[in-house]
Amino acid sequence: MIRRILFAAVAVGLVACAAYAAFYVAPEERTMGAIQRIFYLHASSAWAGETTFFFCFVANLLYIWRRKPQYDWLGVTCAEVGVAFITVVLLTGPIWAKPVWGIWWTWDARLTSTFVLWILYICYLLLRTLLDEPERRALLSALFGVFAFIDVMRKVFFFNVLAMHILALFLIAERYLLEKSKHDAELLRREAEAR
């Protein structure tokens, strides 16, 4: 319980600090003016939502492969949290667009694909309410979740950032192994010297 309270306090504290920085620390953008400050919430929510959908995708693949219910729980959890974030994106976007573009919404590729993404994950959640048998529900929703993630991959920039993050994680893992080997070698060297 204490850990959960601490986690919540850290999350709320960070969000408050981020909002303070967005309002008082960041300089005013020259062409758009103050309205650009919405982007600090809008764009970061989009990143968080799409990253959450990536975790959902991984959980769905793991469920299809391993058939463990924990992966299904993780998948639906990530889908629901992702929907909350993308809802924020879809609501704050038009508030920014109206003063800047003069319209609330336009059916361009980026906006439409975000809207389709939101609809797809709403369908993922709805699909789960329609199936009673747990294993069948988990498998069908996992398959649907893998299909839904294709829409995220269509966003080239996100795809690139995702690829770079995975590359960074891979390099961190490799570098960590090097450090561990260095430590092991040092221990063995000392042991050899002591003999």
Binding site: E28, I35, S45, A84, V88, I95
Partner: protein
């Protein structure tokens, strides 16, 4: 600062969505916990 109302509205809506989502998760968890307790009691009565 121009468009302050819009910025304020966007942030309020954004945080509002997150708060509502969190509240719904807490409510659903608490409902399920009481159902689990009720079911446990019923099962122990039946034994």
């Amino acid at each position: 600062m121009r468009n302050l109302n819009s910025i304020f509205a966007a942030y309020m809506i954004g945080w509002g969505v997150f708060f509502l989502f969190f509240a719904s998760v807490v409510k659903r968890t608490s409902d399920l916990r009481s159902e689990i307790e009720r079911l446990k009691k019923n099962l122990s009565k039946d034994k």
